[in-house]
């Protein structure tokens, strides 16, 4: 079965500190992983995809198939990074499986 786990519902870090939002997945095939973000009073939007290997707003995420993880990282958190972050997995067909999300708060 396909599943995405985000173990932290809430995460608070100080401005300038490193941040890591955890995501683990369960999938027997070759997955495609995504991070979506929802800023306050805005709609959900794509932050990054693992296959594009790009860094968006200073965030990166590496797919670790051995640990079945796709953690989102940023070396220096900014206040504008405060948002709800969702990890998602595509395992084929039309379904994108989302985790329950982590609310990140960056403390000034």
């Amino acid at each position: 079965a396909q599943r995405v786990t985000q173990p932290e519902k809430l995460l608070s870090v100080f401005k300038g500190a490193p941040v890591e939002l955890k995501c683990n997945y369960s999938y027997s095939g070759s997955p495609e992983l995504f991070w979506y973000v929802q800023y306050s009073r805005q709609r959900l939007q794509l932050l990054l995809r693992h296959i594009s290997r790009e860094s968006i707003k200073g965030f990166t995420a590496d797919l670790n198939k051995g640990e079945t993880s796709f953690h989102l990282k940023k070396p220096f958190a900014q206040e504008e990074d405060s948002a709800m972050y969702y990890c998602a997995l595509w395992g084929g067909a039309n379904n994108l499986f989302f985790g329950t999300g982590t609310r990140l708060t960056v403390i000034p």
Partner: protein
């Protein structure tokens, strides 16, 4: 990008009634999806809206409860029928030009409360 207009943005409904949610996209898109996000839960795919044919429903969702229309490539509706308090949720329209493994664009959501 794709600009999605979803309405209503919120509604409070009585048990046993139905609500139709509209999703309008500013350009033609291949795929349109309807998601539900219950309080404290993740986003769950209800169905894929197919243009000109019946929607494809995910496990646990049926057409009688969530009838969907998609008359063209820019518009879709989701109806929540015979509502109960358990249907209180956020309903999201989402579109993709190719598939969910490409970029998904989301509407602003419909916050539904059923009394």
């Amino acid at each position: 990008s794709a600009v999605i207009s979803q309405k209503p943005s919120r509604d409070i409904c009585q048990r046993g009634t139905s609500l139709t949610i509209q999703c309008q996209v500013d350009s033609q898109v291949t795929m349109m999806f309807w998601y539900r996000q219950q309080p404290g839960q993740s986003l769950t795919l209800i169905a894929t809206a197919n243009q000109g044919s019946e929607a494809t429903y995910e496990s646990g969702f049926v057409i009688d409860k969530f009838p969907i229309s998609r008359p063209n490539l820019t518009f879709s509706t989701l109806t929540v029928s015979n509502m109960s308090p358990e249907d209180s949720s956020i309903y999201l329209c989402s579109v993709s030009r190719q598939g969910p493994n490409e970029k998904l664009f989301f509407g602003s959501g419909t916050q539904l409360s059923v009394l």
